[in-house]
């Protein structure tokens, strides 16, 4: 397979991630979409690395996975905290923060 096919796959997944981020209003769904975006990035890294025949891309992908895990941890903590106070996870609900 040409590398470009993988890159296109990455682009498609990234775009789907952004679609989720802009379309969904549930905080968890948005978090899920962000994870999707990060994975799209990893596809790109790994595919490019194979093209170059080096391993840097793969190493970076490891870091990305670690960072993504950290992000998920923090994100989930915030979500749980919010859910406990407010019986909704809808981020677009009438907010005090506006203007």
């Amino acid at each position: 397979m040409p590398t470009q096919a993988y890159l296109l796959l990455g682009a498609l997944l990234f775009s789907l991630g952004t679609l989720g981020v802009v379309l969904r209003t549930n905080a968890l769904a948005m978090l899920i979409s962000v994870e999707l975006m990060l994975n799209a990035v990893n596809v790109t890294f790994v595919a490019a690395a194979r093209e170059f025949g080096d391993l840097d891309g793969q190493v970076i992908a490891f870091f990305v996975i670690a960072v993504a895990a950290a992000e998920v941890a923090v994100g989930l903590a915030i979500v749980i905290d919010l859910a406990r106070r407010k019986r909704s996870l809808d981020v677009d609900e009438a907010s005090e923060l506006r203007g």
């Binding site: 802009v22 769904a29 899920i32």
Partner: protein, 174 residues
């Protein structure tokens, strides 16, 4: 059709379909489960790309514990909380789709017009790949590794702070 092409076609197809499902379904639990499928199929694609270690990590870290955590939280905070349809707020679905489609269109154009330079490099054999990876991690990317460690520590402390805050809140309210 080579094996790689087959893997790409099948795993890629599953990957995109489940990703679309994850993004478009209203129920976060379905989204979370669909994402797990996506992550798993991506691991397969990594295999096809000759990155077995990464595929393993993908399953072991991402599709495994992270997703379990995610599903757990989704169920904890109420799996049944299905996104309400947009009422009384300006419709943005059209704009959202437009932005995403535009993004994909631009990215596709970029990728199709761009070139990935072919570098003449000695392809390391599959056997010493793990070792080479380790060398890179603890050599060239040592700083990255250290920072990632600190990052995880910071995330841990951050979570602790939230928890402590919750307990102090509870004391206050209770």
């Amino acid at each position: 059709m080579t094996a790689e092409q087959g893997i790409f076609a099948i795993a890629g197809g599953i990957c995109v379909a489940s990703a679309a499902n994850a993004v478009l379904r209203r129920d976060p639990l379905v989204s979370a489960l669909s994402l797990t499928v996506t992550l798993a199929s991506l691991a397969v694609i990594y295999l096809g790309l000759g990155a077995p270690l990464l595929a393993g990590v993908q399953i072991a870290v991402f599709a495994g514990p992270v997703m379990v955590l995610l599903v757990f939280v989704v169920m904890l905070v109420g799996a049944g909380r299905i996104e309400a349809p947009r009422v009384g707020r300006p419709p943005i679905g059209g704009a959202a789709i437009l932005v995403s489609v535009a993004l994909f269109a631009v990215l596709a154009s970029v990728i199709l017009r761009g070139t990935v330079p072919t570098l003449v490099a000695d392809r390391p054999s599959a056997t010493d790949r793990v070792g080479a990876l380790g060398e890179l991690l603890f050599g060239k990317y040592l700083l990255g590794l250290e920072v990632t460690g600190i990052l995880l520590l910071a995330a841990l402390i951050a979570a602790v702070v939230i928890v402590k805050k919750r307990s102090s809140d509870r004391e206050r309210s209770g």
